[in-house]
């Protein structure tokens, strides 16, 4: 499987070239174009089994209940994937030795040997991180395609690092994370507009996004027509 991210960074799409018989798993609605002979199967299952309950848990991460599996015909084929909102994309390669935790809405697609599960990240993260209660836990081997709101940048953490809660795309499980207030006092945490942040400890790769979709949405809110 060859993946190329095109049209970076504002309206990125992933062009996935599949060999004959090769499979690509994608979030529901993510395919925007493909060779005509590629076949599609919709299911709540992924590698590692689970089916229905895994689908329910995946929904709690903000990801879709159903996933589409694209299979190339014997002569091979191509599939284009794109997310709904503006932003960039990145490819992360799982090699079996590491695992990745991704924000549910960041997942676009993966190779067929990637196992997708949802993880409860603890009450603190659920209540305060501003993200969903569950995060997507990716294991196995193969590529994962992630998207971000705005640009995406990688940080190699060695020691500790702080990221605002709305700016996390994905991180390796070798990193431990905790939610804490941004300043020393509650006053600076709240009045400074930073609220709560995630503190990462350990060694591993961390992917962050340059913008926060909720902040953009709320900034447009006063200009939108009120709901009846």
């Amino acid at each position: 499987m060859q993946i190329e991210i095109i049209n970076s960074p504002g309206n990125a799409a992933a062009k996935v070239v599949l060999d004959g018989g090769e499979k690509l798993v994608a979030e529901s609605g993510g395919m925007i174009a493909m060779s005509a002979d590629v076949s599609v199967v919709t299911s709540s299952k992924t590698k590692g089994g689970g089916g229905f309950m895994k689908g329910i848990k995946r929904m709690l991460t903000g990801e879709s209940f159903f996933l589409n599996t694209f299979t190339a015909p014997s002569q091979g084929g191509e599939v284009y994937l794109a997310p709904g909102l503006v932003g960039d994309m990145v490819i992360y390669e799982l090699d079996g030795s590491r695992e990745l935790i991704a924000q549910g809405t960041s997942f676009v697609g993966s190779g067929e040997d990637v196992e997708l599960d949802s993880n409860w990240q603890g009450w603190k993260s659920a209540m305060f991180s501003g993200e969903s209660m569950f995060w997507l836990h990716c294991k196995g081997s193969g590529p994962i395609i992630l998207n971000s709101f705005g640009g995406i940048y990688e940080k190699e953490v060695d020691g500790s690092y702080i990221v605002d809660t709305g700016h996390i795309v994905a991180f390796e499980t070798s990193l431990r994370f905790d939610v804490q207030k941004a300043g020393r006092s509650w006053f600076s945490a709240l009045a400074g507009g930073e609220g709560l942040v995630c503190r990462f400890e350990g060694r591993g790769r961390l992917f962050c996004q340059t913008h926060n979709a909720n902040n953009f949405g709320w900034s447009l809110s006063p200009m939108l027509r009120p709901r009846n």
Binding site: A36, G84, R225, R227
Partner: protein, 227 residues
């Protein structure tokens, strides 16, 4: 006629068109897209192709009026900014070959290029391109844009595009609207209807659609105050 001398800046996210017109050369531009120009350019507002053609263009989501800019007394520069944030592409129209644009995608063209509106009927309704398509033919340069990035796909045989992501396609291609895969994929897989193209020619795919963004914005609407 002479080819237009142009440069596309700000690709791929903020496609912006800069042209240098020779003395006496003209350019047709969609209404309100002119961003900057030299002072020797003269603007004339016209209903290109006559009243009927303009009214039909209105059905395809374009303005009834088009502006024609002509460089007088020497060469001159003009900059054009389409309304939507996204990519911009150039296409050289050859006689006898035409290209179809999604409604609203037209930006500018040589005056020798004819822009017509074609009723695409229910196929158009289901394809997400709108009930009308713009058919562009003649001999000259055409510029079009889309919300999102533009990806040129050479088709030989068959190709599938999700409805709503078609920005433009050559008329040598045929398409029909079908369901993707089985009923389960159509209803639950989020892919719904797709356009199945056949033949030989190019398609321009847009990497984003405005509707998912608008749907995402919905919950941010303020509550109405009933006091």
């Amino acid at each position: 006629m002479t080819d237009l001398q142009f440069e596309i800046l700000g690709k791929p996210d903020y496609g912006f068109l800069k042209l240098r017109l020779a003395a006496g050369q003209s350019l047709c531009v969609e209404a309100s897209a002119m961003a900057a120009m030299d002072t020797n350019l003269v603007m004339k507002t016209r209903m290109k192709g006559g009243l009927m053609a303009s009214l039909k263009r209105g059905l395809a989501g374009e303005s009834l009026f088009m502006n024609e800019f002509t460089a007088e007394g020497g060469p001159g520069e003009i900059c054009i900014a389409p309304g939507a944030i996204g990519d911009l592409a150039h296409y050289r129209i050859q006689p006898g070959k035409s290209i179809y644009l999604q409604s609203g995608a037209y930006v500018a063209s040589s005056p020798e290029v004819k822009v017509d509106t074609k009723w695409d009927g229910f196929r158009g309704f289901f394809s997400g391109t709108g009930l009308f398509l713009l058919k562009v033919e003649g001999n000259g340069d055409l510029f079009f844009n889309a919300y999102g990035g533009l990806v040129e796909i050479p088709v030989q045989g068959n190709y599938v595009i999700d409805t709503g992501y078609i920005a433009a396609f050559e008329d040598s291609l045929n398409y029909e609207v079908t369901l993707l895969g089985g009923l389960k994929t159509s209803l639950l897989g989020g892919e719904g209807l797709v356009c199945r193209f056949s033949g030989q020619g190019k398609i321009w795919l847009q990497t984003r659609q405005i509707y998912p963004f608008l749907r995402w914005l919905w919950p941010f609407r303020p509550q109405k105050n009933n006091d």
